[in-house]
Symmetry: C2
Amino acid sequence: MSIAAFRADLGDVPVEDHPRIVQQRSRDHYWYSPVLKAKLDHVSAEIVVSPRTQDEVKRVLAAAYKHKVAVTPRGAGTGNYGQAMPLAGGAMLNLMNLDRVVRIEKDRVRAEAGTVLEKLDNETRAAVGGELRFHPSTYRMASLGGFIAGGSGGVGSIRWGGLRNLGSILSVKIITCEEGPRALELTGEDVLKVAHAYGTNGIIVEAEMPLAPAYDWVDIMVGFDDFITACRFAETVASQESLLLKELSPCAAPIAQEYFNRHKSYVRDGQSVVLIMAAPVAVEPVLIYLAHYGGEVLYRSDEASEEELRRLPPIYELAWNHTTLRALKVDPTITYLQTRYPTLKHVEKIVSLLGDELPMHIEMTRQDGEVTFAGLPLVRYTSEERLEEIVRIHEDNECLVFNPHRYTLEEGGMKRTDKAQLAFKKEADPTGLLNPGKMVAWDDPDYDFNAGRAWLFQGLEPYAL
Amino acid sequence: MSIAAFRADLGDVPVEDHPRIVQQRSRDHYWYSPVLKAKLDHVSAEIVVSPRTQDEVKRVLAAAYKHKVAVTPRGAGTGNYGQAMPLAGGAMLNLMNLDRVVRIEKDRVRAEAGTVLEKLDNETRAAVGGELRFHPSTYRMASLGGFIAGGSGGVGSIRWGGLRNLGSILSVKIITCEEGPRALELTGEDVLKVAHAYGTNGIIVEAEMPLAPAYDWVDIMVGFDDFITACRFAETVASQESLLLKELSPCAAPIAQEYFNRHKSYVRDGQSVVLIMAAPVAVEPVLIYLAHYGGEVLYRSDEASEEELRRLPPIYELAWNHTTLRALKVDPTITYLQTRYPTLKHVEKIVSLLGDELPMHIEMTRQDGEVTFAGLPLVRYTSEERLEEIVRIHEDNECLVFNPHRYTLEEGGMKRTDKAQLAFKKEADPTGLLNPGKMVAWDDPDYDFNAGRAWLFQGLEPYAL
Ligand SMILES: Cc1cc2nc3c(=O)[nH]c(=O)nc-3n(C[C@H](O)[C@H](O)[C@H](O)COP(=O)(O)OP(=O)(O)OC[C@H]3O[C@@H](n4cnc5c(N)ncnc54)[C@H](O)[C@@H]3O)c2cc1C
Ligand SMILES: Cc1cc2nc3c(=O)[nH]c(=O)nc-3n(C[C@H](O)[C@H](O)[C@H](O)COP(=O)(O)OP(=O)(O)OC[C@H]3O[C@@H](n4cnc5c(N)ncnc54)[C@H](O)[C@@H]3O)c2cc1C
């Protein structure tokens, strides 16, 4: 590979090769994991390329193919499994300049990959009163392409499931990395090939997403003396199809008291909280259930002062991986896990076994027709061995772990790869230049696709007869 | 009671006392049930009163109170448990003239009780692009008040649950039956007192309902050679939160062939069908699942000719109790049950036990956080004893039956009454004039509220700690 020759072929596509800046742009949120931090800290690309149009993306990929330069796509770099870390050096492909909103219709939107999600919602809200069904808590930074390639769900998944579900992404346009890069439009099941594939099988330049109706969501934080009661309340409320919610997240004490800097004054000692975003029509019934379960309203945005509204971050920026982020900012030794608890009993069991070593954080979601306790528990990290033990304790108690301390698609249990996907990568990236090292099935010809385990993105196979 | 004196007090409120017309207006769809038909065939009111304003409703109720005249409210009379049959004679209170749409907001609508549901949707669609979350399949006839007082859910319950869920009705305004009738506005939990109470505890004059976004729903009918595969497909599709559906109903062969007169030419011999209403964004993914399960598209409205669109009724008029209605029109000996099958295995068991005596009809719904097989199986009726036996066979196999061959709230398992509701009836109808004979708890002072059984409308109690 010759970066110089590659660069020479780029014409006037903007590039950056100042080593410090390049290194900085070669980082995502891999440092969420002490394990990944140790493994990936040295990683850096050699150049950052920032195409402004889809044609420029093609030009970059043609040059990369010609000069055998590894290409790692990057949106806002908020991925937290090291997905965007350029293991093989080469070029970072910064997509954030591709940020045109292509078309807004009543029930869907088409936009370029670099569009920031919040900006996208602002445009669709103004145009048709619609918004994305769900977004990561990094809403104000993350890109559409980065979310599709590296995310899974988030704020809104309580109602709409996740990216893994067929129908959550209507269409994706990718550019292949070949001698003559092609644009491919993927729809239907084919979309699942690039969803959460870390950009290993094509550069996403555009995507079409369904819109949900936009509401003036009300942020509510409620408190309970007991975490399990908080979860019971959350489960009941999540189970009512009549209650239109966008976010519902129980966080055990002392998470709010220790890490929610700007909200902690609302929380009493020992209180566990539930973070809620409710449509205006749902607020009253949610509060009725709250009273039934003996909970207490700590904060609600529809009754907040101007000053509070200015001062406080939105509730969703306490939730999902922002819970971890806020904890990390206060206590850099903290890390986290991604889990799934089949029932509340399982949550109870893990809480009783691990106590304050694992301050529990649950995201209530709907998955495959069921209300699910998706866990993002904080972990007071001591060693990699102990972290593995905590994973084992989960697994021994029938709780799933999607290990966020792995940077490949397969090892974390994030995405089930299969023959069809491998074949697709061969077509879209025949020489394996796209984000090398992230797909085990590509690097290991003996990889066993049927390695029995739970996958977050499992494709449609399990539903076939 | 003196009907003449009552009538004299009504001023110019329109009345009708021609016995044939009164008898005709004293009937609902009780004849769905051969059991109810035998029991209620003789029932008739003596007069029909048709107030045009809420003040006139007050005047009618004051006169009824003064002259001790029983009052049975009536919307379109499409209830099919004999809920609106005037057991004690007296007056039918026809609410259909109260049909003003009071207020349309972005996420809710307030209208008078006699508003026909389809008309309501037409107005909210035009004004704010919203529609009722769900409606009975009698959409084109049924009234808002009759739906709240006598219905439970329907087209849309696959996404939004039912009327029994807190938050499905935002507010109800009732008029009490007292010396000086009062208007009471019920919100929050209090709404559950009048939901599905058959008008026994107040006359609904207005209600406020949440709106869902309106879509150009696509009617689809698909076919399978095997009914259980059809159900499996339906369960998978229902379980995908990403698939925005309004209706999903598997009907076993030969239901479509024998009873869906205008659709039967699309169906091959032996095929079981699934009736679907899908949002445009959901059509493609639904068809992908269809292919996975080996099903076949028989009809889709988005590809139908003008002539087909004119000729065919909407898909929802094949579903819910319209399935029964269509069967009854062809074969008057047919009746039905209302059931709930905990899992597909239970459906399979009942189908294997009862075969063609019970042509299976399932409505996929979401209830309390779960995808549910709500059954409305047809029954080839032979005798009341055999019908009871079929109920027992269900119960012996852990399948719930909400018996639609009962006209009281409690006996059918439709609504759990409790002390609070009884107390409310004492307040709103102290002398028991409203729809007498429909609330066992009122007539039987020894009624055991805790009679252990499953209730469709169970109130909030089960969720309390
Ligand atoms: C505080 C915090 C909170 C978070 N909350 C959530 C959450 O709620 N839900 C959730 O799912 N995730 C969450 N994440 C993870 C991450 O933010 C999201 O996945 C986000 O959508 C990533 O977007 P990005 O633009 O930052 O992508 P990046 O981090 O830049 O990239 C993510 C992956 O996609 C690839 N990629 C980027 N752009 C393209 C493209 N155009 N074509 C092909 N591949 C591409 C990259 O190579 C990388 O593998 C969170 C992370 C943090 C740090
Ligand atoms: C073909 C068919 C299909 C059906 N499908 C469904 C379905 O999908 N889902 C469903 O839930 N039901 C269904 N039903 C039952 C029924 O149609 C619905 O419940 C419908 O909403 C009743 O409305 P209505 O105006 O006809 O009420 P009515 O039949 O006139 O009255 C229903 C009950 O409410 C009382 N009532 C009426 N108006 C008032 C008022 N203003 N204040 C107080 N009490 C009042 C009556 O006394 C009676 O007890 C169906 C029935 C038929 C015949």
